[in-house]
Symmetry: C2
Subunit: 202 residues, 2 copies
């Protein structure tokens, strides 16, 4: 089996969530695995001089509309970006790496899927510490240990390192997919990812 794809995403990003429901299947068609690499998107936006999409008045309104339309087209469950809820991007990414180290990559991936489903489909405040810990606990983690990891310097430093590594790879938004070093940004580019895997580039 050839090298896995790198999938960089933020838990609170609708296009990142959309891509998370499709990327493993696209890779598998071509005999590839996927390394999921969540990151702290606010830190990269700040470095780049970008705002969260919904902070732009006209562009933000458009994307709220486009996300629903795109989810319907692809049959992706999506009730919308929760209003007035804290984004799960930072705590989700931190607990992802904590889970990957304590229970393994599969548990971490399942955690990301559950957390994004809770946020984007059930509209639960998945970014809050108690919700995050409860989702980790549903996967067999110790709820108190998960809650404590969120405040630990060690795991905050780990998240900062992973985010710096994403930035160094050329990531600034969610999602980014890398196929043998070739970068693709946006859920819209999964079709090119599929073609790139099929043709080996063009």
């Amino acid at each position: 089996m050839r090298a896995p794809l790198d999938f960089y995403f933020a838990f609170g990003s609708p296009p990142g969530y959309f891509a998370s429901t499709q990327i493993d299947a696209i890779a598998a068609k071509h005999g590839r695995g996927v390394r999921w690499r969540p990151f702290d998107i606010r830190a990269l936006f700040a470095e780049e001089g970008l705002q969260p999409t919904v902070a732009y008045p006209t562009k933000g309104r458009y994307h709220q509309h486009d996300w629903h339309r795109t989810a319907r087209l692809h049959n992706i469950a999506f009730a919308g970006l929760p209003q007035n809820a804290e984004s799960p991007s930072k705590r989700g990414a931190l607990l992802f790496y904590w889970l990957a180290d304590t229970l393994g990559e599969d548990a971490a991936k399942a955690f990301a899927q559950l957390a994004m489903h809770a946020y984007f489909v059930e509209q639960r405040p998945a970014g809050e510490p108690e919700e995050m810990a409860a989702i980790a606990a549903a996967l067999g983690a110790d709820s108190d240990a998960a809650r404590e990891a969120l405040d630990e310097t060690h795991w905050q430093a780990r998240l900062a390192d992973e985010t710096a590594a994403a930035a160094a790879a050329g990531v600034w938004g969610s999602p980014h997919v890398f196929v043998d070093g070739e970068p693709f940004w946006g859920h819209d580019r999964l079709e090119q990812v599929d073609l790139w895997l099929e043709r080996g580039g063009w």
Copy 2:
């Protein structure tokens, strides 16, 4: 024949140029025409708090790469965004409306196609007044009159009005396509435009 699509674009936008090479054929498949509506993209970026794509360091570098890859995939002639050349977005849009009123919409559309080809394929400084006037002259316009129109308050006000109308319609970037009021942003969304025309929405 049903209502034409509205195609908003900036002359200096690579995705707008890419879409300009495909939108008429997509619309024609479904028995539709297209109203081309160039606008002053810097004015809308300023209102929205956005920078030109290439002004973002990491995002800008990515898009320069993505534009070449996307042009190759779709067999669109593209030598790149000219370096250190003045953007043709503002003067191109102004002369477009001048030509539309003096020689008709077809001449204005042909002018846009020639100007974008000069800029993105031939890498000529198409945004400069003399280049703009020469391209208009190639379509039968009076070169001196074209050159003068660029400085006339009347045509500057017309461009401001067209740009304000684009903003009021929900445009902030290039390209935007509207199908019976449904908005689609980005060259990447032409596939959804095609599907929307085929299905009448979803």
